[in-house]
Assembly symmetry: C2
Homo-oligomer: 587 residues x 2
C-alpha cells in the first residue's frame, strides 16, 4: 500500500504506510502528519485517545522529511481535502517507527511554489526530486524508452551495446579522452555517437540495429546541451528512406500516443531543405503556426528606399513577415524587436502597417502609389496587419527572420501548445563551406550518400549537391538526424577527394572503418533521435535538466557529486600523465 | 523476403533477394551462388537458357562476399539440401545487381570449421560476425535485455540513466579517469557501477529503480573480464530481502524461459555463506553435482601420518572429496591433479581407494584397522571410490578443494550441462581483513547493512559480523551481488569507525553521499546482475567475448578500431595534460 492508494472504500481496514513527513501540525490535542511517498500524500492522525501514549508522544517529535512507518486504521476524514485523491480519508495511527531522521533541508520540500535557485536544486538533487517535478519526468522518460524498444523490437531490430571506451569518430565535436594505463601515451575516446559501430554492424550482416546510447561531446555548453545525452540510435541495411520513415513515424507516434495521448497521423509531412530555408529561414521550422517568410526583393527594388536598393545592389535580398493584427503595435513595441535582428548584424526592421487609410510606416512613403497593391497582395495583407521587413545578405537574413518569427509566434500567442507538428526535412546539402578554415566540409559526416541525381555535380559544383540526409523536426526542434550512407567505394573516394582528404589522412582518421567498408557493404541507412529532446517536447520544457536524473550544470559540473574533481597523484602516475602547469592562466 | 524464408510453397513466385555471396560455383554450363543474409542461405542459379546473357556473364564474375541483389523465380531444387531450411528450393535469377564488391577476406567466411586466431577475429570483427557464431549471441542478448526490462517494468520499476561522466565510487577497483577541459586539473571518473546514484535515487523518493548500465573498471584483465561490462542494476526502498528475492527469481526465471526454454522453479535454494564455504569451499558452488567437501580432521588426528598430524598440530585441517568410481584411476592419473592443488601451496593429494580387498593408497597404511570403517562411513565410500584429501591451512585448503571439485566434475562428466542450479548465498561476512595493508575492509562496500542480530558484535568481533549481503549464483558462477543498505546514521558511523575511517576521510571519499543519507533515507536494498555473465551461461560459453559485439582483447585493446590510440598534441594541450616520459621503461 502506498500513500496514494487509500480511498473511502478502504475505511475500517488496517494499513501499514511508509514515507516522508511532508508536513506535521501539532494542534495541541492531536498531531496531524501528511505522509508522502512517490505515489501521493495521506493524512495520518495521532490522537491521544486512540494512539498509545508512546506513539502519540513520539509523533510530536516528528520533523520534516523524517522517514517513518505507521500502522493504523483508515477512517473517513472530518474535513475532506478535495484537492488530492486520498483527501477523503485519513489514517488513525496505532504504531509509529522512525526509520530515519533528517537534517533540516536547505529548501522547503512541501512548498513547491518557492522558487529555488537551480544551483541549489542541482546540489541537492535528491531533495529536488522529492519536490515532485523531476520524478514524473523520469517516469515519462522510462515509459518512452520502453515504448521505443518495444516498437523497434516488434519491427525486428536488435539492440546492441557498443563500447563506451572507443576511438574518436569523425563527428566533428571535441572528444572526451580516457588515458590508458596499460598503454601509456594512448587514449580511448568516449563515443560522440555509435555511428561507425552501427555501420560496421551492417557490414557484419546485422540488418537491423538499435540502441539507446549515451553520447558524450566536450562542447561548450548551451542552455539545451549537456556533456552527455542519450540518442535513440538505429540503422538498417538493404532498405531505403521509404522503408525507414514509416518505422520512425510508428515509433515516434507510439511514444506520443502512449506517453501523452496525442495522435501523430502518419505519414509525416516532408519538405526539402531548400523549401524549409526559403519559407521559414531554418531547417527546423515550427509548423504550428503560419507566418511564412515572403520575398519582396523585386518589389523593394522599385522603391526609392536607399535601405532596400543599396542592399539589393550589393547582392542582398529583401524579405519579411506579415504579423496578422500587428498594426496595433506602437512604434516602440515594434522597435523592441530591433534588438533581436541586430544580433545578426541588421540595423533595423522596416515596418509597414496596413490601416483603414492605407499603408503606414516610415518605409511606406518610399513605395509608389501604384506599387502599394502589389505589396498588399504579395504579403496577403489585411487591414490591421503589420509587415516586418529586413534587407541584406540572404543567409543571415533568413537566420534573423527565423528568430523573429519564433519570437513573434510566442509573443502573439500564435502557437497552439497542444499541437504537435512533425516534419521530415529532406535533401540536405552534402557539403558546406567552412569560411574560417577556407575548406569544404561535410554537412554531417563524410559517409553520407550524395543524392543519386546529383552525382555528376560532385566535382563540378559540390555545394549544389544534395545529400540523402534527412532530419525529423517537431514543433521547431530537430529531434533526429540521419542519412542513407555511401556503400559504393568509388563514390566514397570521390567524396573524400572533394573534401580534400588525402589517402593517408583518410587512413589516419578512419582507416579501420574504410577498410571495413571494402569487404562487401550492403546499402544501409539510419537515424539518431535525441531522447532528451523528445522528452522535453513531451513534457513541454525548454530545460534539458528537467529530463535528466543527474544533470551537469552550465560548466559541465555535477554540483551534487562535485565531479569533475581532483584525483590522487598516484592515479595520475599510474596513467603516466601529468597536469600541465596552466599556460592559459589561473582564474 | 530474406535468404531464410523460401520454401516449396513459394514455388512459381517471383522474388527479390539481397545478400552476400557465400559460395559461388561456375559449373561451366551454369553458375550456382549461395546467397547469405542473417536469416539463412538460398541457392541462386544463373542458367544461360533462362537468365539474360548479361546477367549470366555478370554472375561468372561474382566473388566471395560481394553484396548482390537478384530477382528471379522460385523453383524446386533438383538435388535438395536437407541440411538447411531453404534446401528444397532455389531461385532462377533473371536479374542481378552488384551492390558492393569485396576484397578477399583474411579468413574464410563460408567454412566455419577453420579455427581462426582470436586476434584476427577481433581485428575483423565484422567478418567474424558473418561467420554465424556471434550474431545469434547478440540476438539472445537483445532478447534477454527486453525480457529484463519488461519484467521489471511490470513490477513497477523505473529505468533511470545515471551519468557516464561521474565521480569515483568506493567500489574498490581502479577508476578510468576523464580529464576535464573546462576545469583543468580536475577529472571525471567513469562509473564502476551506479551504486551511489541508485542509492541517492532512493533518498530522492524513487522507490523502484533499474537500469542496464555500462560499468567500467580499469583492472588487469582475466579471461572472463572486460574493461567494460553491463550490469542489470536495481534498487528498491521500503522493502526487504523477502520482497526482492521473488522479483529477481521471476526476472531470471523469465530470461531462462524466454531465451532458453528452461524453467527455473522459484523459490531458489538458499545457503548461508558459511555453509557454502564449508560444503563446497566457495561462495559460488556449482550445485549441478554432489561431491561435497568432507571434514576428516578428527579422524586424521588419530592416524600415524605425519602429513596429517603435523598439519593439524600447526592449526590446519584435513578435508577431502570422495570421487565416486575413482578407484579405477592410476596413480599417475591421480597425481595429475597434484599440480592443481600445488598452486595453492599444497605438496600433494593424499588418496585412498576403496577396493574389494579394503582401503588402498600410501596414506591407508597409517590408518588403524579399527578406524577404517569410520573413514568409509564419513565419506560414504563404496567399493570403487577414491578419496582425495588435503591437509593444511583452512582457507587455502577450501580454495584448492573448490578448484579440485570443479575440475573433477568436468573430467568425470559429473555435470549435466542441461541443468541450471540457481542459488542464493546469504549472510556474507560484513568485513574482511586485508592482510597486505593490515586493515579492516568491507566485503563489498561500507554501505552494506550489518545483520541486525550481529549489531552488538560490530566493535567486539567485527570479522564475525554477518552482513545483509547476498549473491545469486548459477552453476558455480556468481551472476549477481547485492545487499540491504544502511539507512541508520548511527549504524553507518559505527561501520566507518570499524573501518578506521576518520570523519575527514569519509567526507573526502564520499562526503556528498553521506550528506545525502542525512536528509531522510528510507530502508533500501538492491542488486546488480552481470548481464554478460548471464548471457554466457545461456549460450554455454566461457569466453565473455562471445557475448559482446565489440570486445576488447586481453590487453584492453579494441583490435578493430585500434583503441586506445595516440591523440593529437592539441587535444592534450586543451586538456592541460602532458604525457609523462615513461619511468617504468618502454618495452
Amino acid at each position: 500500500m502506498t500513500c496514494g492508494d487509500l480511498r473511502p472504500t478502504h475505511v475500517g481496514k488496517k494499513v501499514v504506510l511508509s514515507g516522508w513527513v511532508h508536513r506535521s501540525r501539532n494542534l495541541g490535542a492531536m498531531v496531524f502528519v501528511d505522509l508522502r511517498d512517490r505515489y501521493g500524500i495521506t493524512q495520518i492522525i495521532f490522537d491521544p485517545n486512540i494512539s498509545p501514549e508512546a506513539v502519540y508522544e513520539a509523533s510530536k517529535e516528528l520533523k520534516h522529511e523524517y522517514v517513518i512507518r505507521i500502522e493504523g486504521e483508515i477512517v473517513m476524514r472530518k474535513s475532506p481535502n478535495h484537492k488530492i485523491p486520498t483527501g477523503l480519508i485519513e489514517v488513525q495511527a496505532h504504531d509509529l517507527s522512525v526509520l530515519s531522521e533528517a537534517n533540516v533541508p536547505p529548501f522547503a520540500i512541501a512548498d513547491d511554489t518557492i522558487d529555488v535557485h537551480e544551483d541549489l536544486r542541482l546540489r541537492y538533487r535528491y531533495l529536488d526530486m522529492r519536490r515532485g517535478e523531476i520524478l514524473p519526468n523520469l517516469v515519462m522518460r522510462h515509459k518512452a524508452m520502453q515504448v521505443v524498444r518495444h516498437a523497434l523490437t516488434e519491427d525486428g531490430f536488435i539492440e546492441v551495446s557498443t563500447p563506451v571506451l572507443s576511438k574518436s569518430t569523425p563527428e566533428g565535436s571535441r572528444d572526451y579522452l580516457v588515458p590508458s594505463r596499460v598503454h601509456p601515451e594512448k587514449f580511448y575516446a568516449l563515443p560522440q555517437s555509435p555511428q561507425m559501430f552501427k555501420q560496421i554492424l551492417m557490414v557484419g550482416g546485422l540488418d537491423k540495429y538499435f540502441q539507446i546510447a549515451a553520447c558524450c561531446r566536450d562542447e561548450d555548453l548551451r542552455a539545451d546541451r549537456q556533456p552527455e545525452h542519450h540518442q535513440i540510435d538505429m540503422e538498417m541495411s538493404f532498405a531505403t528512406q521509404e522503408e525507414l520513415f514509416p518505422i520512425i513515424e510508428n515509433l515516434v507516434g507510439r511514444v506520443f500516443h502512449e506517453c501523452k495521448g496525442v495522435e501523430l497521423a502518419p505519414p509525416f509531412r516532408r519538405m526539402t531543405h531548400r523549401e524549409a530555408m526559403e519559407r521559414y529561414g531554418t531547417d527546423k521550422p515550427d509548423l504550428r503556426f503560419e507566418m511564412e517568410i515572403v520575398d519582396a526583393t523585386d518589389l523593394a527594388e522599385k522603391t526609392s528606399s536607399a535601405l532596400f536598393t543599396e542592399s539589393i545592389s550589393s547582392g542582398g535580398v529583401v524579405r519579411g513577415l506579415n504579423l496578422k493584427g500587428g498594426a496595433r503595435l506602437s512604434r516602440k513595441e515594434i522597435e523592441s524587436y530591433q534588438q533581436l535582428v541586430s544580433q545578426f548584424g541588421f540595423k533595423g526592421i522596416a515596418w509597414i502597417k496596413s490601416q483603414e487609410d492605407g499603408l503606414q510606416g516610415a518605409i511606406a512613403k518610399f513605395i509608389e502609389e501604384e506599387e502599394r497593391q502589389k505589396w498588399i497582395d504579395r504579403f496577403e495583407m489585411e487591414i490591421g496587419d503589420c509587415l516586418m521587413i529586413i534587407a541584406g545578405e540572404k543567409k543571415r537574413l533568413l537566420q534573423a527572420l527565423d528568430q523573429l518569427r519564433r519570437r513573434l509566434g510566442k509573443d502573439f500567442d500564435l502557437i497552439d501548445s497542444s499541437r504537435y507538428e512533425p516534419l521530415w526535412v529532406v535533401d540536405f546539402p552534402l557539403f558546406m563551406w567552412n569560411e574560417e578554415e577556407d575548406r569544404m566540409e561535410s554537412e554531417t559526416h563524410p559517409f553520407t550518400s550524395p543524392h543519386p541525381d546529383d552525382l555528376e555535380l560532385l566535382e563540378k559544383d559540390p555545394l549544389a549537391v544534395r545529400s540523402m540526409g534527412y532530419d525529423l523536426v517537431v514543433n521547431g526542434y530537430e529531434i533526429g538526424s540521419g542519412s542513407q550512407r555511401i556503400h559504393d567505394r568509388e563514390v566514397q573516394k570521390r567524396v573524400f577527394s572533394v573534401l580534400g582528404l588525402e589517402d593517408e589522412e583518410v587512413r589516419d582518421r578512419f582507416g579501420f572503418f574504410v577498410e571495413a567498408l571494402g569487404f562487401g557493404t550492403p546499402p544501409h541507412l539510419g537515424i539518431g533521435l535525441g531522447l532528451d529532446r523528445l522528452i522535453m517536447i513531451l513534457i513541454g520544457s525548454e530545460n534539458i535538466k528537467d529530463v535528466i536524473a543527474f544533470p551537469k550544470n552550465h560548466w559541465a559540473q555535477d554540483l551534487m557529486t562535485g565531479a569533475p574533481s581532483e584525483v590522487y597523484e598516484e592515479q595520475l602516475q599510474e596513467l603516466a600523465i601529468k597536469i600541465e602547469q596552466s599556460v592559459v592562466g589561473q582564474n
